[in-house]
């Protein structure tokens, strides 16, 4: 009996892994695919379809096919958990300056390691204001 690679099964699994990493390395950079990860979820949907096709196709070594399929689905489940649930747990930030309060000053380095002072920016004649955008960071 010839050993044939179950392409749908393995490509489905590979696509599931690729979908996961594609979000954190690419789709997350663009608000349209970051806020609701529709592109990634579509990739996961294709991956799961492939896995199920591969599972049904599997003759012999069905345990392996089941394990691969379940792992591929678990990657998707983990992604959904990470994105939709884990991120809701944010600190209260009750001490954050409210509207009408003074924004704490700072001097921080820019991407060229040059210091940027809030007070200095606000003092520039052409500046009506500054918008401070605090973000998680590049990960």
């Amino acid at each position: 009996m010839s050993r044939r690679i179950n392409w749908p099964l393995w490509s489905g699994f590979a696509l599931s892994i690729a979908a996961f990493f594609s979000y954190f390395s690419f789709f997350i950079l663009f608000p349209i695919t970051r806020d609701v990860p529709w592109a990634t979820l579509i990739l996961f949907a294709f991956a799961i379809v492939l896995l199920v096709i591969g599972l049904r196709k599997a003759v012999g070594r069905r345990i392996v096919a089941w394990i691969v399929t379940i792992l591929g689905i678990l990657v998707c489940v983990f992604f959904c958990f990470a994105i939709f649930l884990a991120t809701k747990m944010l600190p209260a930030s009750q001490g954050a300056p409210a509207i009408g309060a003074k924004a704490p000053g700072f001097v921080l380095l820019d991407t060229n390691r040059r210091p940027v002072a809030l007070a200095q920016l606000l003092a520039e004649p052409s500046t009506k204001g500054v918008i401070l955008i605090f973000y998680r960071g590049y990960w």
């Binding site: 921080l108 955008i133 998680r136």
Partner: protein, 105 residues
């Protein structure tokens, strides 16, 4: 954000992004995403703490990072608008910021 930068600048508002990333990490991000506004490095999260935005252990390798938030600050250093988001992915839509920004004198 990048698309609305021209409108923000026209309204006389300077955007500043702040995170715990090093200047080098920010430079990579800025290049990749094509940002033209400054990305500032608050490595030890001192400023982040002063704004009470610290999110302990939430970063890569358990790093302390900032939770996302935006503050529109006027010429006198007063906060005129702010947005504390409940979800790291959904940050303020520029339209909201622009409305507040246009009210500044």
């Amino acid at each position: 954000m990048e698309e609305h930068l021209a409108e923000l600048r026209a309204a006389g508002i300077q955007p500043l992004a702040i995170s715990v990333d090093t200047p080098e990490e920010s430079r990579d991000l800025s290049k990749k995403a094509g940002y033209t506004f400054p990305l500032l490095s608050d490595r030890n999260a001192e400023t982040i703490r002063r704004y009470d935005l610290l999110h302990k252990g939430a970063g890569e390798h358990g790093r302390d990072i900032a939770r996302p938030a935006e503050f529109l600050v006027d010429r006198n250093g007063i906060v005129r608008w702010r947005n504390l988001t409940g979800d790291f992915r959904i940050r303020a839509r520029p339209e909201q910021m622009l409305d507040a920004a246009r009210q500044l004198r």
